[in-house]
Amino acid sequence: MNNLSEDEGTTSSKRIYMDYTAGKPVDPRVVEAMLPYMETMYGNPSSVHSFGQEAKQATEEARTKIAELVNAEKKNSIIFTSGATESNNMAIKGFAYRNKDRGTHIITSSIEHMSVMNPCKYLSTRGFKVSFLPVDQYGFVNLETLEKELTDETILVSVMYANGEIGIIQAIKEISRIVHDKKAVLHVDATAAVGQIPIDVKAEGIDLLTISSNDIYGPKGVGALYIKQGARVEPTIHGGGQEQGLRSGTENLPGIVGFGKAAEIAKKEVQTESERLTRLRDRFIKGLTEPIPYAFLNGHPVERLPNNVAVRYSFIEGESMLLSLDMMGVAASSGSACTAKTLEPSHVLRAIGLKHEEAHGSLLFTLGKQNTEEEVDYVIGIMPDIVKRLRAMSPLTSKELKE
């Protein structure tokens, strides 16, 4: 049997992080920008004195940088929140409640993040009707179904820019055209895409856009919602009336400053970094699938996030692969970290038509700034033995493969 030897076990000194979608390090330049706002410039942006003014100025500069990153028409279209989950909640519940007199129908896709899925499900218990669009085997939203589902009652369509679990990038421009033809509003959750793909809310026709700070190497606990002029949402958090009355609570100043710095860096570096990641990604996918029988790619080979490597191996199970990789110092994921609390396979993998056992056999590597070609080659090198060992253990391994 192909046991992992002791010296290659948990004592392995090599540590390789390939779970960037679950959490990213904060860029050192961002940390540096944030520090003064914790130690010396701690004023409240709502205060009149100079401490308050410098805090206010820092907040507005950050707002401008985020507006520039997604090409928003003006900085006041950006509302700071506590992160992508809050932005998605605000976009969906806030828009639905504010516009319920115009209609009560909402459309979303069946591969959205839980922070879109669950607000939609919640609204369906509060008098709204929600349609979940099917996707094809790659994860593309079916545009014909979207067209058919849109009625005069439809007020909002929410489709993610790209899916962090299978990497698929949606045809947002096309979707926007269809949605706007029917006078509905388009919300796009761009959490996984911002910083990896240049996004232009004006050119692509996006009305509401969710942006996360940590996903662009900014601090955790801060995010934003872009709201196009004219689109109206109701606040989901009530209080002192900060953020144009849409999101009360004293601003998370260091977080917002860090988010702004991260946006500035992302805008400058997105092109070169995504080209580098795309090269690494394609090398990785090839190396993980070609030498191993019954290995497949989840998602689309080309319309894919530059950092996303999602594969699956028949007859074996994701968590056993994760543990085996962890023993060799490699951190990966079997799907969305947000769904790891349940034993059910991910709704995304089920929606692209994978059987339960196929979905359970999925493995997700998400790359980032610190990954190198050497690291990718190391994982390509250890994967065949991990798969072989687990297949030798599995009662599902097919007879052909054994021979």
């Binding site: 199970e317 059987k355 253990m393 009662p395 599902l396």
Partner: protein
């Protein structure tokens, strides 16, 4: 962790006296336990598992617990015994230890059934 890294008794027994297969791919775990019986004792036992780390570890542990035991003793190995021997399992993984004990019991029942059939043939 040790039982995941170096599982004991992994494999198949081609001429097993009893085989127990439990679980299904929907929940993500399938286990097969093979036993060889001699003088009413489990002389050899092996397993195959498709599942998470806990599923592999519990299958390995249940084979260690059952080896050399009489069939009656082995039938008494409970789900809790398996989890306790491993030093406890997180609540969400308890079903894995259930599966391992169920697999063992299913293998023994299969053995009894086969013996009955043999007896009838005689």
């Amino acid at each position: 962790m040790e039982h995941f890294k170096n599982p004991r008794n992994m494999g198949e027994i081609p001429d097993a006296d009893g085989v127990g297969t439990v679980g299904n791919p929907v929940c993500g775990d399938v286990m097969a336990i093979y036993i060889k019986v001699k003088d009413n004792r489990i002389a050899d036992i092996k397993f195959k598992t498709f599942g998470c780390g806990a599923a592999v570890a519990t299958s390995s542990m249940v084979t260690e617990l059952a080896k050399g035991k009489t069939l009656e003793q082995a039938m008494k190995i409970t789900r809790a015994d398996v989890a306790d021997e491993l030093g406890g399992l997180p609540p969400i993984k308890m079903h894995c230890s259930n599966l391992a004990a169920d697999g063992l019991h299913a293998a023994i029942e299969d053995y009894y059934k086969k013996q009955k059939v043999k007896g009838m043939k005689k």
